[in-house]
């Protein structure tokens, strides 16, 4: 698992986001797939902690050695972590949700830009912030001649939106992110997801 730390209000915008992504990447590269934490990431940011991103390889890598499996797990976790941090976490209020599309191929990003309200927390940009309560990605890989060339991440991402004194509003994103590798870099070439937002009704 990888910690995706939640910044609270008052942090340094894009700097903090870069810090968060660096933290996630560092944890992955180190192969530390169990939950870990970095005090700096939440220094001065009191509040409930985010769930860690859990990346499970479920099929398609049976013929790979441990090192190769870890590499795939880390690479794919890196892409998903970047997407989750840029798309849902970070300092609020914020507007830079489009940054999360960096994880997508150019063609997929065009579709994702149209679906940005569903693929990110853009509709909650004026809230106090989001907290991840569950980040699970089950990965099935397409391995051809010992090389992993494609993968599907079956995701269950859950968050809570904090906004003033209102009760936390649950937000979930479930479905599939489709990924492949071009020039050694993994990116998301498609998605097939369902967004469930429990919306409060009334004043």
């Amino acid at each position: 698992m990888v910690d995706v730390a939640a910044p609270g209000a008052g942090g340094g915008g894009s700097t903090l986001l870069r810090h968060l992504r660096a933290l996630v990447v560092a944890a992955l590269v180190a192969g530390s797939l169990s939950a870990c934490s970095d005090p700096e990431a939440t220094a001065g940011e009191p509040g409930p902690k985010d769930a860690a991103l859990e990346v499970r390889l479920t099929s398609g890598t049976e013929g790979l050695d441990t090192g190769a499996r870890s590499q795939v797990q880390n690479d794919l976790g890196d892409v998903l972590s970047e997407y989750v941090v840029d798309g849902f976490l970070g300092d609020y209020p914020r507007e830079d949700f489009v940054r999360s599309l960096d994880a997508f191929t150019a063609g997929a990003a065009r579709g994702a830009a149209r679906d940005i309200d569903l693929l990110t927390a853009a509709r909650f940009g004026r809230s106090d912030g989001l907290r991840a309560t569950r980040l699970l990605a089950e990965i099935s890989c397409l391995t051809v001649e010992g090389d992993v060339v494609g993968a599907t991440a079956h995701v269950d991402f859950r968050f809570e939106v904090a906004d003033g004194d209102a009760p936390p509003q649950p937000v979930t994103l479930r479905g599939r992110f489709l990924m492949d590798r071009e020039d050694g870099t993994w990116s998301i070439f498609g998605y097939d997801v369902v967004r469930d937002d429990a919306e409060r009704v009334g004043s």
Binding site: F104, G111, A112, D180, Y191, V193, G202
Partner: protein
């Protein structure tokens, strides 16, 4: 391809309203929540219309698929951005000019000149150059269908094919690999012979899409299907392209798919049955669908 719909979960809506109204007959904001379910999907394959030529070779197990005749010929156009798709079936006995090889049945093009000659012959009919050619033999068809757990097909009539054990009734049927081979071959009991058989091939393609769509969320299903396909297909699609294509196909809405089998007049040349295919119809279909993989007119015009 990108599609987005919004739907409200009816049971949740009703439950929420009941909770809201409660015993007091008035909304209670603290206890009411509605779940808004919003799907979104897209796949980056290629922008605009993509044309694929699917060939079914009659090569038997143990021989190269390109050595067999192309007894199934389907030109398929897909625009994944628009979510539209068309399939044009070509009767195997269509009497056509095979570039550099004189006039012949179109199905002879595969053993004579390979997929390039088949693509050329189809382009001559429709005015569309296929971007990709995918060839499959009977053994590969059986493995592919079994690999996805069988497919469901709709047939307007009973169909039997004793060699494969196929014996299905009118309506929706689930068939496995061997039966799929029988369904692909069967033509003697069909009122329009090879024209109906071509329509059956299109129904099988629908069945594969239906099966992919049904199981795409099963962990590992698409990857296993692509691996199986890589083992049995002869194609100029690379592994990554085939993976993207399969993922894109799994998102196709079958209600947006139009199919058409070329018309023609039966004839005999040198004692062999042939079809004088309707070239005007082919050219019209090609002009209509070339850019958007959608038929504005009908199959027959």
């Amino acid at each position: 391809m990108t599609r987005r719909r919004t739907r409200w979960s009816a049971p949740v809506l009703v439950l929420g309203l009941l909770l809201a109204v409660g015993l007091h007959g008035r909304p209670d904001a603290a206890s009411l929540s509605l779940v808004k379910v919003e799907p979104a999907q897209a796949v980056d394959f290629e922008s605009g219309a993509v044309w694929l030529l699917f060939l079914g070779s009659d090569a038997h197990a143990g021989t190269e698929v390109l050595e067999g005749r192309a007894d199934a010929i389907q030109l398929v156009g897909v625009d994944f951005d628009a979510g539209t798709a068309v399939a044009f079936g070509v009767p195997r006995d269509s009497w056509v000019e095979l570039e550099g090889h004189g006039t012949n049945r179109i199905n002879a093009g595969l053993p004579i000149g390979g997929t390039a000659l088949m693509a050329s012959a189809v382009q001559d009919l429709f005015g569309i150059s296929p971007d990709y050619v995918v060839t499959l033999g009977t053994d590969g068809l059986a493995k592919l269908v079994d690999g996805v757990g069988g497919i469901e097909i709709d047939t307007p009539r009973d169909v039997s094919e004793p060699d494969s054990g196929l014996d299905i009734r009118q309506g929706r049927n689930r068939i496995r690999g061997a039966e799929a081979v029988g369904f692909a071959r069967a033509r003697y009991d069909l009122p329009r012979g090879d024209f109906d058989r071509s329509a059956n091939h299109q129904e099988m393609m629908r069945g594969v899409v239906r099966q992919l769509a049904t199981h795409k969320d099963d962990v590992g299903f698409v990857e296993a299907a692509v691996l199986r396909a890589l083992g049995v297909l002869d194609t100029n699609l690379g592994a990554t392209e085939l993976y993207r294509l399969t993922q894109a196909v799994s998102q196709i809405d079958l209600t947006e798919v139009t199919t058409c089998v070329l018309s023609g007049t039966p004839g005999v040349v040198n004692g062999a049955s042939i079809v004088y295919v309707d070239r005007e119809q082919a050219a019209r279909l090609g002009r209509d669908a070339r850019d958007d993989a959608r038929l504005d007119a009908t199959c027959r015009g």
